[in-house]
């Protein structure tokens, strides 16, 4: 029994396969560092800006704009990310709007993630006691000034763990960009896999690289949370 398994394992990890895996590793890691991570970083940064603005519009109860934001969140959260990528990349050309793969990915990922993070930010802002805003305007600051100096810093701390969650989940979702020909980590893996016909081993290998990236992010999150907690508020 045990011999059977070990035979199967050693047969699986033939010298040829080990060679392929070792050779493929940098070929996967490189697009991971040059594409997956920048795509995630850029899209998430834009998503955060969208989220803060969308959350503030909702909290400020600005008429019309607020309804537009609700509509945006409703549509984005109610449709699959993959479909959104297809609509923009393969659909918009019908209207004469042709975008390059990478900008398309950034656009779709940031708009998509922005909707989710907007809800996180809104909840975080609403969790700050009303008295903080009242005190701000009573010392003569405007609503916006109080927002920036008092409410948002506190809200970001509350929102930090769920936002980190979103970031990690977005990093993995960037693999969907393979569908619109972005040469990111997963796309490259698909190509290698079809060349060598070693799908199982190579897809597990790329999964492990994603796992590595996410582990780093989780560690960074833990360090940041500790740091935030030490700020004494």
């Amino acid at each position: 029994m045990f011999e059977g398994i070990s035979n199967a394992v050693s047969a699986f990890f033939s010298q040829r396969l080990v060679g392929i895996l070792v050779e493929s590793f940098p070929k996967m890691l490189l697009p991971g560092l040059k594409m997956t991570i920048p795509l995630t970083a850029i899209s998430f940064s834009i998503a955060l800006v969208i989220a803060v603005i969308a959350a503030m519009i909702q909290v400020a109860k600005i008429p019309v704009l607020r309804q537009l934001i609700r509509f945006y969140i409703w549509v984005v959260r109610g449709t699959p990310l993959l479909v959104q990528l297809y609509v923009v990349f393969y659909g918009l050309p019908n209207l004469g709007i042709v975008l390059e793969p990478f900008p398309t990915a950034v656009l779709v990922f940031s708009i998509n993630e922005g909707a989710y993070c907007a809800e996180t930010m809104r909840a975080a802002i609403e969790s700050i006691p009303k008295g903080q805003m009242e005190a701000g305007v009573c010392v003569g600051m405007s609503w916006l000034q109080t927002m920036f100096h008092v409410i948002l810093p506190q809200a970001f701390r509350t929102a930090f763990p769920p936002l980190s969650n979103s970031l990690i989940s977005m990093l993995k979702d960037t693999s969907l960009a393979a569908n619109i020909t972005v040469m990111e980590m997963f796309m490259v893996t698909q190509r290698i896999a079809s060349r060598y016909y070693e799908h199982l081993a190579l897809y597990i290998e790329v999964a492990l690289i994603y796992l590595l990236f996410c582990t780093v992010l989780t560690k960074v999150q833990a360090v940041c949370e500790k740091k935030l907690a030490s700020y004494g508020f």
């Binding site: 008295g131 701000g136 009573c138 010392v139 000034q145 700020y231 508020f233």
Partner: protein, 248 residues
Amino acid sequence: MLTIHQVTKQFDGSQVLKGVDLTVNKGDVIAIIGQSGGGKTTLLRCMNFLETADSGTMEFDGETFDLAKISKKDIERIRRKTAFVFQSYNLFRNKTALQNVMLGLTVARKMPKAQAEQIARSALEKVGLADKADSYPNALSGGQQQRVAIARALATDPEIIYFDEPTSALDPELTGEVLCVMRSLAEEGMTMLVVTHELGFARNVSTKVIFMENGSVVESGPSMEFFTNPKEERTRAFLNTITQHEKE
């Protein structure tokens, strides 16, 4: 200096303020007393536009404003000449004591940092908390937080400070330190409008007392006269229940 006229306010169909008049002169220390739910806090909040009054006018520094239709610009302008001390302190939780006091100067009044810090430090010194400048609110006791809040109010050099039950959230032993600071402000001639349950403060520190009940002013007058010779039956009844309570 400040006069409000016929202020009314309704919450969900119940009339909280039924046409309140009030005049504040420079140097007045006015205590607004009365049972909870009588409209005292709402009046104060309407005067600083934390609530929007349904009707009424305000005359402040020679200008007249319609409280129901006042513009945002005018509100901000008036707020820069007033200060508000809350029952629950409402210190900015992400700022140290010093930063709490400075924010109204550096951000709202665009004052250079060095100058603001100097003012903020002397305001903290005035409330006896110079050594707590770098503490965050959650490291301070309730009494200390309220004193920082008073320093924050003082720093902007307001023409009037509104106090909304400043000691109601405090333990009795902490109440004393806050009242002590307020008393010294009063002695320096600061104009103050204080909603309070501390009849001792109303009697001994304030120059004028206003007794409110069910959204109306029942009686008002100089403190001495108010306590020794109340004119209205309702006032006498209120003072009796309170003094009896204090005796027990």
